[in-house]
Amino acid sequence: MQLQKRAKPARHMLWLAPVLAIMLTLLTGTALFAALGLSPLPVLKAFFVDPVRDAYGVSELLLKVTPLLLCATGLSLCFRARVWNIGAEGQFLLGSLCGGAVALWFNDENLAGSARIGAVGAAVAAGIAGGMFWAGLVALLRHRFNCSEILTSIMLNYVALNLLLWAVHGPLKDPDGFSFPESALLVDALLLPSVVDGYRTHVGFVLALLLLVALGVIGSRTLLGFQLRVVGESAAAARYAGFHEGRLLWLVLLACGGLAGLAGAFEVLGPVGQVTPHLSSGYGFAAIIVVFLGRGHPLGILLAALLQALTFIGGENLQIEFGLPKSIAFIFQGLLLFYLLAADVLVNYRLVISGDSVAQVQG
């Protein structure tokens, strides 16, 4: 068996490879559960089907999809320009910290009317600003000091996490919260309205969908989207064309930081309702996988985010029903990316059984 380069990339494989990767991941999961002495079908059902059995489950899924979509939208801008920002997690955390801090400032039972709108707006703006600041550091370090954005954004993830921990242990800690490292709960007036009453999916989801559509439009119909692709394809060609590489670098990083920060603020103002150490379930990292799995295409990103959110909820479900650690979600996410990367070889290469190829040459 050997690999033979295709004359041109196979378009159908661009779609088939993710499907193949998902199937292989499921197969591996089945084998894993069987090896653990569990009967695979009920476990897989609890993992992938049970979470979305009813409307409430779907609403919970969309709640998890929201931060993934926001982060993935930003990251896909970065990756299109081959800016390897791994720091969406840190940008998310800083956004939630800043947004949470501002929200706590306004945290008053009597908040109403325009003051309420102003407070929520200020918290959201602070979240965006926090994320942009964190991503701006990455842009500065890359642009001014030529430091690899992979390393700096990762380091900043850890710094952001520790900042958050420091804040909930210190300045933002709820004085009435006994010794738990958590802030006070936000008043209802500060929380984002739901899309449908009785379900937790909030307006952030709608906004994330709109931004995803905007991403699609930017990517396919604007000069900016074209410029990002050229920078990603070849920096020399971009310079020759007269595009400003530095400006584009700042732009994608600030946009991504803003979106991740927005996602962070939404988590505080949405489902969590306070600043806690566990605001992110690794959304920033998972969003990277979402972008690769969805190939940077808006529809692909949406589907991949749904799948990814399902692994988070399914992981929690397994913990409840079977006592399995919820880190199983990360195993599935890693496996999925492995299989996708492996399956991607079929886009540019075809598999040739060597016996056949010899016969062809002789024939």
Binding site: K8, L223, F226, S234, A236, A237, A241, G242
Partner: protein, 513 residues
């Protein structure tokens, strides 16, 4: 040696051959996709012979040599080495037989020293033995190379000497050189020729691949001429005249290059002054509409910097570049492009075009903003696609469609597409570097015609080229770069090949007077 060679049962004894050949190729064929790069080629090389493999770009010379060196496997045919059939599976096998090759693109690691590069390729030699053998060879051939220099800091000629020495240290009996003079100055060419003569005297056979007749006539005893993958003749060089060889290479006696009337020079369009910018140490340049100004020089003499200073990829104080009465030294690429300054760099794939983008997208690369194809933030992809389709039709470019990625096009087709793209912008000034490098003859002549047409239409063209023939056939005024110094630019009729050669080797101040 004749008595030692074992009779080969598969082959009838050749009639009336005085000595067995060191190397014999019999009916070698190699096909790539639809093109038959080598069509049953046969060739013999004797010990101590300097044999030329002559042909135009794309005639199949390099493919044949790669087959011989084990880079490609032939589809059919056989290779005899000292009268024994051999199977050369990879370059290691070739080296074990005693075949060395100096590639056009050198096989050296730039960050390593000469010594490290030699060690890398010659694992069987200990450091002391390496040093000793190197010194002996260097003295025998009279070459100036130092072991402790980093390859990245050496000139092309020096790198080539390292490559040759490395081949010789491995005890080669056959040395293949692929277009060895393309990177050398005229002076360095003479050194190389002297070196190769010495080697041949020592009994080493040499295969010299070239499309330059002068050198072949100076150096070689026999020449095998290839055209379109076939052998069209194998001759003793001393017995044949230049016109005959050219006719064999080209397929017909070439018409004498038409002496075009020199342009009547009008108002200067561009004036550039640059001192100490990157590789470029000193350049004074004035161009007028309706003329082609050619600048020769070996690679790395400052051509890239000069091109970037004109195009705007590198900036200068405003008044250092004047274009149509305006100071533009500080303006960006796009600002200059909108004023009619266009450029076509030497790297086709990766700079002038992005490999993974379609032809339509590559068309937009230099036609965005304030133009008929795209304005404002939105892109209507039908327009660049239409323009790309037009370019494909006008220049008879072989491409699946305007949506095919640039990397799918052959060099000649892509270059024609890029020339078409830049000329579609109706430039007032076009600066291009080696526009026909590595392009098949048909495409080259189409590109030359297009440049002529643009000149006729009143554009100024700055042609940076390493091909002296191209410069003399196309340009109204000529000059050369050497070590970053630009010579004076004189009308073509006042420049001889000898003067050009001097410009390319000596500093302009000394040579121009």
């Amino acid at each position: 040696m004749a008595s030692a060679s074992s009779p080969n049962p598969n082959r009838a004894a050749p009639p009336a051959q005085p000595a067995p050949a060191r190397l014999e190729l019999i009916s070698i064929s190699k096909r790539f996709g639809d093109t038959l790069a080598n069509d049953s080629i046969s060739l013999r090389v004797q010990p101590g012979e300097i044999h030329a493999l002559l042909g135009e770009n794309g005639a199949g010379k390099s493919t044949l040599m790669k087959v011989l060196y084990g880079v490609h496997t032939p589809d059919s045919g056989s290779i005899l080495w000292h009268n024994r059939e051999v199977d050369i599976a990879d370059p290691n096998a070739a080296r074990r037989l005693g075949i060395g090759m100096v590639f056009q693109h050198f096989c050296l690691i730039e960050r390593m020293t000469v010594f490290e590069n030699l060690q890398l390729a010659l694992p069987e030699l200990k450091a002391a033995a390496l040093q000793q053998r190197f010194d002996a060879l260097r003295q025998r051939l009279g070459l100036q190379v130092r072991l402790e220099d980093r390859v990245g800091q050496l000139s092309a000629g020096e790198r080539q000497r390292v490559e040759i020495l490395r081949c010789l240290m491995a005890d080669v009996e056959l040395l293949i050189l692929d277009e060895p003079t393309s990177v050398l100055t005229p002076g360095e060419v003479q050194t190389l020729i002297a070196t190769l003569r010495l080697l041949a005297d020592d009994g080493c056979s040499i295969l010299f691949i070239s499309h330059k007749l002068v050198e072949v006539q100076q150096l070689c005893e026999r020449a095998t001429v290839l055209r379109a993958g076939r052998v069209v003749g194998s001759v003793r060089v001393a017995d044949s005249d230049r016109a005959g060889l050219v006719a064999m290479m080209m397929g017909e006696a070439p018409a004498a290059a038409p002496q075009r009337p020199l342009a009547v020079i009008g108002e200067p369009l561009l004036a550039l002054r640059a001192d100490n910018c990157g590789r470029l140490r000193s350049a004074r340049l004035e161009l007028a509409g309706g003329e082609i100004v050619g600048i020769g020089g070996v690679a790395g003499s400052g051509q890239e910097t000069l091109q970037d200073l004109v195009s705007g990829e590198q900036r200068l104080p405003p008044d250092r570049v004047r274009f149509m009465g305006e100071d533009i030294g500080h303006l960006s690429v796009q600002q200059r492009r909108l004023r009619g300054v266009r450029s076509l760099p030497v790297d086709r794939l990766g700079r002038a075009a992005a490999a993974g983008l379609s032809l339509a997208e590559n068309f937009l690369l230099t036609h965005y903003g304030q133009g008929p194809l795209q304005q404002g933030p939105w892109v209507d992809w039908r327009r660049p696609a239409g323009a790309a389709r037009q370019a494909i039709a006008d220049f008879a470019i072989t491409a699946p469609s305007e949506h095919a990625p640039a990397r799918d096009l052959s060099g000649g087709n892509l270059q024609r597409f890029l020339v078409a793209r830049e000329l579609a912008g109706q430039p007032r000034l076009l600066v291009c570097y080696n526009p026909t490098w590595g392009v098949d003859p048909a495409a080259a002549s189409r590109i030359h015609d297009a440049l002529q047409d643009a000149r006729q239409a009143g554009a100024a063209i700055l042609l940076l080229s390493e091909d002296i023939d191209e410069l003399f056939s196309l340009c109204d005024r000529l000059g050369a770069l050497c070590n970053g110094v630009l010579s004076p630019l004189l009308p073509r009729t006042e420049v001889s090949t000898e003067l050009m050669g001097r410009w390319m080797t000596e500093h302009a101040e000394a040579a121009g007077q």
